[in-house]
Amino acid sequence: MVTKGAWWNDAGVRAVLYQIVVLGAILLLGWYLVSNTLANLAARNIATGFGFLGREAGFAIGESPLAYAPTDSYARAILVGLANTVIVALVGIAFATLIGLVIGIARLSSNWLVARLATVYVESARNVPVLLHLLFWYALITEALPGPRQALNPIANVFISNRGIKFPLPVWEAAHGWMAAALVVAVAATLVLARWARTRQAETGQPFPIIRVGLALILGLPLLAWLAGGAPTALDRPELKGFNFTGGHTVSPEFVALLLGLTLYTAAFIAEIVRSGILAVSRGQTEAALALGLSRGQVLRLVILPQALRVIIPPLTSQYLNLTKNSSLAVAIGYPDLVSVANTTINQTGQAIEGVALVMAVYLAVSLGIAAFMNWYDKKTALVSR
């Protein structure tokens, strides 16, 4: 047998030692920073803790999907900021996906002119900082658009001015509630039907036109509910009174600028992802599927998309995350998102650590949630190699 060396040459002992040293160093650094912070806070008479969240905020928020007044608490204000972040992120993701899909396909077009135009768009949009996009669109909207009295009026009842976009909304009635309920029922029914159709096709080979039936359900049921509810058509129209509009729904210039900037920037990246996803599926797959006798639609749905999506989805989710994180740039143009509201809160209360920690925790929760989803998706779609 080999004679046992000194204990400090043992790999296992060394491993434990290294870890103790690293952890010890990190703990020491942490302790040093915390003790400094506590000393500084004590010197500046700042109380730690989240108690400030219950105090009255005292500042107004330009736009809010939730009921909010300056007399509400800081917690409420931050919740409003979070809601604004969620809204701009969701709308931005929807538009960016749509535009990115179209541009990505256009870049692969056999039409020379269309492919070139798409390339020019992608290169010019993604090689410029997203913040420049935001500042540019914000300046364009607030400086180049006319005031409310000379507002552009592209469609009846829709007004575009430097105060934002005004458009009519249906006056809320009971029928609209029934429509929403009908929509939920239709979606649920379609899901159940799709499941049944899949099982039946697997057992008997009989296909079922699930897409057409599902669409009919989802569009038809709410329409029926609307008709049954007496088909209310009353609209809350924006009207010019004095120097500004009253009535209707408003989309603020800040929101439009943020949405435009985030969407156009992210769409360029999504276009590249879509392009690489489509290119990743070899032509032989299409030809083989056609040779099997599948229709064009079936080839796309059953053969191309499942393979392309496996390449597309992971980078796509990271772009969605990027868009959500970039929405924090709203603070530069004054859209009251989470970071912007938290920033005001920090300035007013001096609770810098709590404020920044709150913002970071929220974004971290979203990111980790999406990362968990991604891991699940990766496992589900991983190629089983034998």
Binding site: W112, N127, L132, S328, V356, A371
Partner: protein
């Protein structure tokens, strides 16, 4: 087709444009007009939907391009330094750039000393260009960068050898953007290698620390990191010790970039076949020898394209320092507009800044594509 192994930068551009030029040149090889017609029919009017697409695209161009050219070139005012002239001409006011370019490019740096950031920038860019050349990818590069940073620091700060001292609160414009981005990548690089190695380490405590750091930093927006650097960081330091805003932002950018770079490096480490690790172990190499001599030289080569891409996003992300009040290129472009008579000409100012950003980012993305092709040359086919 496989890319040639050795190419000069000039050939890179030629190479990138090759497919496009081939399609453009094809008709000329045929019989003049007939061949051109053939090309047009093949690429623009091959079918009814294709024809409609072409017409729509043409309509878009006709609607969009003439007013744009009219505004940007025909009716534009190029010189004169008088906003009134611009308003009378009704086109683009490039005179704004003529008047304000010193401020936009150099920020608040003392006017008579502008040659210093200019020279520093030239040295910086030469060093970046040298780093792009694969012949320099070895330890010499670290030496080159040490010299460049020392000379650059002397030029920017001054204070000895005959140069007047300029405090870094007055730095601004393009040099500041370049400094933040370049130092961000250069200094984040060693940290990211340690993080990536830690994440793949067998030691659970070290792995946990690295995973925690990488995931937390990647999960939060850069804005919140910068806020932390600007408002929380002063609280971390002992009484009496202050670090200026620029350094704090720079540290924030380095720590942020390191987490993203670490993921790129980890991808490279994962791509090295297990046999390489085992062979290094069998040779009796210790951990650092194994990594330094066998694994990293191969892994880092693989991840150069993603590193360049990370450099592009870092370059664009430095614009966020506007939020904590540093005068980078975007901030100076915005601040130039606070001069009331020039206020209406925001498009010109932003377009100018945008073109500078575009120039850098576009060049780098083309470079990264070239690298990818070059690095794949050995494995393709």
């Amino acid at each position: 087709m496989s890319a040639p192994i050795e190419q000069s930068p000039g050939e890179i551009a030629a190479h990138v444009e090759e497919p496009m030029r081939a399609t453009l040149a094809a008709p000329r090889r045929g019989r003049g007009a007939a061949a051109l017609l053939g090309w047009t029919r093949r690429n623009l009017f091959s079918s009814v939907p294709n024809t409609i697409l072409t017409l729509v695209a043409l309509a878009l161009l006709v609607w969009f391009l003439p007013p744009l050219i009219n505004w940007a070139l025909v009716k534009a005012t190029w010189t004169g330094g008088d906003p009134k002239l611009c308003r009378e001409a009704g086109g683009a006011c490039w005179a704004l750039i003529e008047t304000k370019h010193r401020f936009i490019l150099f920020g608040l740096y003392p006017h008579d000393q502008h040659w210093r950031p200019l020279v520093a920038m030239a040295i910086f860019l030469s060093a970046i260009a040298a780093s792009c050349d694969p012949r320099f990818w070895n330890w010499r590069l670290a030496g080159i960068w040490a010299v460049v940073l020392a000379v650059g620091g002397w030029l920017m700060w001054g204070g000895f050898l005959g140069l007047a001292y300029v405090e870094n609160a007055r730095w601004g414009g393009l040099p500041l953007t370049l400094i933040l981005a370049t130092l961000g990548i250069v200094l984040a690089f060693p940290l990211s290698i340690l993080l990536a190695l830690g994440r793949r380490s067998d030691l659970p405590a070290i792995r946990a620390v690295c995973v925690g750091y990488i995931e937390i930093v990647r999960g939060v927006p850069l804005v919140s990191v910068l806020f932390m650097a600007s408002i929380m960081f002063p609280l971390f330091l002992p009484e009496g010790l202050t670090i200026d805003k620029l350094l704090r932002a720079q540290v924030g950018i380095i720590l942020f970039t390191a987490a993203y770079l670490a993921e790129a490096v980890r991808g490279g480490l994962a791509a090295i076949p297990k046999g390489q690790y085992e062979a290094a172990d069998a040779m009796g190499l210790g951990y650092w020898q194994k990594m330094g001599l066998v694994i990293l030289p191969q892994a880092l080569r693989l991840v150069i394209p993603p590193i360049v891409n990370q450099f592009i996003s870092c370059f664009k992300d430095t614009s966020l320092v506007i939020i904590i009040g540093l005068y980078d290129l975007l901030t100076t472009a915005k601040t130039a507009l606070t001069d009331p008579p020039w206020r209406p000409f925001y498009v010109e100012s932003y377009v100018f800044a945008g073109l500078v950003y575009f120039g850098f980012c576009f060049f780098m993305s083309r470079y990264s594509q070239y690298l990818e092709r070059r690095l794949n040359a050995g494995t393709r086919r």
